[in-house]
């Protein structure tokens, strides 16, 4: 799963939604951020940054997260498609004369 392709529409928004998704997953496991950091062998500050959507991940880091947390690929694709859909809607609002005012 290529991170560049997933983030091509809106990198900032994808990071934010991915962070939310990971936080929700952590909460379902009833883990604290420190426990997640322990599991991932990452500094707690980095985990907090990822959940806040502030961390730009490399492809390797993304793959590691995917496998370590068993992230659902369909959900990741849905997140990417949401960023595409919202980007399109922003464009159409600006330029499409048929878009409802």
């Amino acid at each position: 799963m290529n991170l560049e392709n997933l983030t091509q529409f809106d990198k900032r928004k994808f990071k934010k939604l991915l962070g939310l998704y990971i936080r929700e997953l952590r909460e379902k496991l009833s883990w604290t951020p420190d426990q997640l950091a322990e599991h991932l062998k990452l500094p707690p500050t980095e985990v907090r940054q990822i959940e806040a959507g502030q961390k730009t991940l490399s492809q390797d880091a993304f793959d590691y997260l995917r496998h370590s947390l068993n992230l659902n690929d369909h959900d990741l694709l849905d997140i990417a498609k949401i960023t595409q859909a919202e980007m399109l809607m922003d464009v159409y609002r600006e330029i499409n004369e048929q878009y409802p005012k």
Binding site: S30, D34, D78, Q98
Partner: protein, 305 residues
């Protein structure tokens, strides 16, 4: 994965707060579950008195949910099972949503998924609780519900922080509930706008029968007439604001069906006439003479196959 490794010990109160948030226990159910007065619960929940919650309350909660209370302390409970128990028997609908059930839940399931992915499960559960319906009704999107529910859903979202832009975007994320379904597959196979709207015309009954539809479709244009009889929906509060919000959503949705086929959305001209009998909406979509414009799809999604 071992939840108890390097576990940080929490007080009973802290454990309980985390548990309530995690499983989405409705706050109006919590006093009964904990065996304390509602006012005491709300006092504690607001952060004023941590001493309200003792081990006894956790034991009471365990009995209420038929689980060992230590599972709550040690955070090794099965969240899915607990949520099923909390919302057990809650597939029933409030009366105002169980009259004239002409909408399928499939026509709003994508909104709930969108809320979960963009604002979190708690926000999604909050919205549904405000509507007095339970998340488990979406277990089967072939279930039916009143149009009133959808209109209330849009109102509630607007009242809880959603801007008009965000409400508009809801019409463009229908793929969240349709992809990986037989109906989604039909859309995916459409090669141009004509074929896409053929799928719409042949399957509109799977979304709702609130409106009586008439489709005129050729290679150049689509024209849809949609009429809603007020008599069939006399239980609904038809204010100008609510009607306007609904018709705006539907106008954008007509344009965004093309996105299900990975085609550029074509927003329709829309003419709405209101009479004492009902609402008549006409949508006209003109197809590109130059041919369909495929959007760049997300690699790895079915659209690439």
């Amino acid at each position: 994965m071992n939840n108890t490794q390097n576990e940080i010990l929490l007080s009973p109160a802290e454990s309980l707060r985390k548990f309530i948030l995690d499983v989405g226990l409705p706050l109006n159910m919590a006093p009964e579950a904990l065996g304390i007065a509602p006012a005491d619960f709300m006092h504690w929940w607001a952060g004023f008195n941590d001493k309200t919650i003792k081990k006894k309350q956790i034991e009471s909660l365990g009995q209420f949910l038929s689980i060992d209370e230590n599972e709550i302390f040690e955070r090794r409970y099965d969240r899915t099972l607990i949520r099923a128990k909390i919302f057990e028997g809650r597939h029933s609908l409030p009366e105002k949503y169980s009259q004239n059930q002409f909408s399928y839940l499939r026509s709003s399931a994508h909104i709930i998924k969108y809320l979960c992915l963009t604002r979190g499960q708690h926000y999604s559960d909050l919205i549904l609780r405000k509507l007095n319906v339970y998340p488990l009704i979406y277990d089967d999107i072939n279930n039916k519900i009143s149009l009133n529910f959808f209109m209330d859903l849009l109102d509630t979202l607007a009242e809880n922080g959603m801007s008009q832009q965000e409400l508009d975007n809801l019409a463009c994320v229908l793929f969240l509930s349709l992809q990986r379904t037989p109906l989604g597959e039909k859309f995916r196979k459409a090669r141009n706008h004509f074929e896409c709207y053929e799928v719409v015309a042949n399957n509109v009954h799977l979304f709702d029968s609130n409106f009586v539809y008439d489709f005129e479709l050729d290679r150049k244009q689509l024209r849809i007439q949609a009429f809603l009889h007020y008599d069939s929906h006399s239980h609904i509060e038809w204010t100008e604001g609510r009607l306007s919000r609904l018709m705006r959503y539907r106008q954008i949705l007509v344009g965004c069906y093309a996105y299900l086929s990975n085609l550029r959305p074509l927003f329709p001209e829309c003419f709405v006439e209101n009479s004492k009998y009902g609402v008549n909406a006409t949508y006209i979509v003109t197809f590109d003479e130059a041919g369909p414009k495929r959007l760049f799809s997300v690699p790895g999604s079915e659209a690439n196959n």
